[in-house]
């Protein structure tokens, strides 16, 4: 069962259960920063405000306190995350 992902000062959504957190955010048309997508570069790190995530494999990158690497984890409870920039700056507009 998938857990709810809440974007701080944004909205909540229900990701596809098989997606990593990074893929889930990208599926929301958010231009996330990334590079290796394997947990060794640290480019994608974001702040975890509430909830827990589970790593598929312990990442190599240096991760700051309270931060997570969305490229190699998924939410293991409902989570609240803070994006590095305001949502309106990094969400791509999708025309209906």
């Amino acid at each position: 069962m998938a857990n709810i992902v809440k974007i701080q000062d944004g909205y909540s959504f229900l990701p596809r259960p098989e997606a990593t957190l990074l893929e889930a955010l990208e599926a929301e048309n958010i231009a996330m920063e990334y590079q290796c997508r394997q947990g060794y570069c640290g480019s994608c790190q974001i702040k975890l405000i509430a909830g827990d995530v589970e790593y598929h494999k312990q990442p190599l990158a240096f991760v700051q306190e309270d931060h997570i690497l969305p490229c190699c984890c998924h939410a293991s409870s409902d989570v609240t995350v803070q994006l590095p920039q305001p949502l309106e700056c990094i969400q791509k507009k999708v025309s209906a």
């Binding site: 590079q35 060794y40 570069c41 480019s43 190599l60 240096f62």
Partner: protein, 376 residues
């Protein structure tokens, strides 16, 4: 405090700090103080590649078709990267090996430096392929003012550290008179130099390389110089890992968990360290101006590249807990991420080694029952 290549003291290496403890003796990895360095070594080894695996036969004709100002951009970047890797292919070894105290960190430094020598070799491979006279390019590096000013900014920290360590090894701490000059050697001063050197290496790997990377990928976005872009992707993958290594070292220093004095020094030098980032960003923006002095290239100009430099500088500063003076919030070159993503690194198909498949994939647990379906 003379250096010894095999320390005959019997001591527990896991109780030593990263640097300036006892010299390493047994290169053993069964017990580790910081297993992260062992994991970085494994990852770096799984990344192993050779420049010759990448086919550059189309790049020569592509290069000849480029207008002159774009050839200038392409060659200048290669020259600059050659300089950076000339430095990185030796300096971590020379500066850090005499003072390192953990076997896993010692091997990480060697593995890291070795991979930089592959990068240097790949520049020769590229230039041999695109130029009739490669020596013209290499000979210019040492005469090129724009490059040499950068070299000074990078090497001054390494050189100060190396000089300090040599004096420390030869004479130990204290006041000495050498060639009628008074010199004072103190361990705390050496640790300061070490900290600033690590910051400047972090800046080199995290910011300085990226201006060249951006240009290489901008060419490839237009489907030109694609072999070169493949090599740069492989280099960028290695650099991302080196950056992680340096960030871990800096963080271990700043936390005081490894050596409490190092944490004091990190706090004391925070402003100076921050300034290294800011100065590097300014120098890289100047470099962008030099690259585009005769004209821009499609999709990239001095201003866009300048704001990209500010953007990644902010990212890198935040990553190690520094505040950035720059306000660029959005990535001005969004296509960079997909080029930097190493998942789609492709060399000659038969040579591709998917790094995650390399370790322990042989199933040796085969039971005789597994052969029941076979008959002869």
């Amino acid at each position: 405090m003379a250096y010894t290549t095999f320390n005959q003291n019997n001591f527990d290496a896991t109780k030593e700090p990263m640097f300036f403890g006892q010299n390493v003796n047994v290169a053993r990895y069964d017990v580790q103080k910081y297993s992260i360095f062992e994991q970085l070594i494994e990852k770096q080894l799984s990344f192993f590649w050779r420049p010759e695996e990448v086919d550059l036969s189309n790049d020569r004709s592509d290069f000849n078709k480029l207008p002159e100002h774009e050839q200038h951009i392409f060659l200048s970047n290669l020259k600059y990267q050659t300089l950076l890797d000339s430095i990185q292919g030796r300096s971590p070894n020379i500066a850090l090996l005499p003072i390192v105290s953990l076997p896993e960190l010692e091997t990480w430094i060697e593995t890291w430096t070795f991979s930089e020598t592959i990068h240097s070799r790949s520049y020769t491979h590229i230039i041999r392929n695109v130029m009739t006279e490669p020596s013209k390019v290499f000979d210019d590096i040492i005469n090129n003012e724009a490059i040499i000013t950068r070299a000074t900014a990078i090497t001054c920290y390494y050189d100060a550290l190396i000089e300090g360590i040599q004096l420390y090894n030869a004479h130990g701490e204290g006041e000495h008179t050498i060639n009628n000059e008074k010199v004072s050697v103190s361990l705390r001063e050496l640790k300061k130099r070490l900290y600033l050197t690590m910051v400047s290496v972090n800046v080199l790997e995290a910011i300085r390389f990226y201006v060249s990377f951006a240009c290489s990928f901008a060419f490839a976005e237009r489907a030109t110089m694609e072999g070169n872009a493949k090599i740069i992707k492989l280099i960028a993958r290695d650099e991302a890992l080196h950056l992680t290594g340096t960030q871990h070292i800096l963080q271990l220093m700043a936390s005081g968990r490894d050596d409490p004095e190092m944490a004091e020094i990190a706090a004391e030098l925070k402003e100076e360290a921050r300034q290294i980032f800011i100065d590097a960003a300014e120098q890289e923006k100047e470099w962008a101006a030099y690259l585009f002095r005769d004209g821009s290239m499609i999709g990239l100009n001095k201003d866009i590249l300048g704001s990209y430099v500010e953007y990644i500088t902010t990212q890198r500063m935040l990553a190690i807990g520094f505040e950035s003076p720059f306000t660029t919030k959005q990535n001005p070159l969004p296509w960079m991420n997909s080029w930097l993503n190493s998942d789609n690194v492709q060399v000659a198909p038969q040579e591709v080694e998917v790094s995650s498949y390399l370790v322990g994939q042989v199933d040796s647990d085969v039971d005789t029952d597994d052969f029941n379906d076979f008959s002869l």
